[in-house]
Point group: C2
Chain length 229, copies 2
């Protein structure tokens, strides 16, 4: 697996801030171990086996990163979209990351992957690369804490789901002409928090958001979330 | 607030890996803005006001880092003990950390604190310092995900509490002569997970662990956790 050096330069400059800080040897090593891959919707890209798959650069499609419990329960942590880089699939680069994130292609996706062990070697010799990897991980730390706070403290996911489900049952319409501000007032929360959670719902395929309001696109999922059944 | 340069060198060499990589100017700047502080048990050191308190080096005592909800619910994320450095109290150094952690002195504690804005300036100019700060944060990322998994997936905290409470009610003794292995079998979990959660309980003051077994030191807290009341 490798891409040609000229293309590789373009790719690395697009995704990473450190190309100019690499030695020629490091550039060749990275490029010789970077490949292009395509995944069909639903394919698992990085699993729980403790493998160090590598850094994944998203060209097209969407990747979903989630935690999975033994009994099959999932928590979506975040999504990677075109132009973004997933480093948590390269645990050998980030040795202090001890948890396993699973990464699936949520849509048909194409990506570049640079091998984890190779990236780890370069990061060991080059502080700019190490710095990039750590910074990428820390940015996700904040996302994860937000998910945790919403679910554990506020049950905001459930509160919004209950509200939407009640509105849907009451009006019989699956399009609710409500602003996020109105919903926030009804459930005594902050508008920003409601907006963020609705975007989360949208990404999960539960609702669609538009100027007209909120359209329920997956009634069954919404009902489950609202009633816990 | 400042400590004398000779003492400062000793302190920085003890707590940070980057002293040798600093310029003389950076050393003077950091030392001129590093002070020694003492906090009584229960004192708040770093709050939710979005302040950039700084990097906290623990000399003695224990600091507790936790999340706090609007209605007063807490989640303990981790503790800092002598020899450890807390960077999450320096959000201006770690710009991608967008959540607020609260830090209290859990026991009478003494610490050195280097001002956040000063540390941020040095980290901007010196990649070793930036790297250290990020690495310190990433190490806590794994701790937080572990707490989240245990509580959200397995309710392991509750399952162990229910088991201990039942045993206590059944035997009438507040010392349970059980191995972690036995508890793990009873509640269908892994020994390692039980050990880690019991240590978490011990740190919370709910139990004391010894060779003889598990002593319940705070019945009320255990009952609350077990019954949810």
């Amino acid at each position: 697996m490798s891409i040609e050096l000229g293309q590789c330069r373009l790719v690395y400059r697009q995704y990473f801030p450190f190309w100019e800080k690499l030695t020629d040897e490091q550039r060749e090593l990275l490029c010789a171990n970077t490949g292009e891959f395509s995944y069909k919707k639903g394919t698992n890209i990085h699993g729980t086996s403790g493998n160090c798959t590598g850094a994944i650069m998203v060209i097209s499609g969407t990747l979903r990163a989630y935690l999975l419990s033994e009994n099959g329960k999932e928590i979506t942590l975040y999504r990677y979209r075109p132009g973004e880089v997933c480093m948590l699939s390269a645990s050998c680069v980030l040795r202090s990351i001890t948890f396993d994130v699973i990464i699936d292609a949520e849509e048909d996706s194409s990506v570049y992957i640079v091998r984890g062990d190779v990236m780890a070697k370069v990061a060991e010799d080059n502080l700019f690369v190490a710095n990039y990897a750590l910074d990428n991980a820390v940015a996700r730390f904040s996302d994860v804490v937000w998910v945790m706070q919403q679910i554990m403290f506020f049950s905001l996911d459930k509160r919004i789901a209950v509200f939407l489900w009640d509105e849907f049952s009451r009006t019989g319409s699956d399009t609710l002409s409500l602003t996020h501000e109105q919903i926030a007032r009804y459930i005594s929360s902050a508008r920003e928090a409601v907006t963020r959670m609705l975007k989360y719902f949208a990404a999960e395929g539960i609702v669609e958001l538009s100027r007209k309001g909120i359209k329920i696109s997956d009634r069954e999922k919404l009902r489950e979330l609202a009633t816990g059944e």
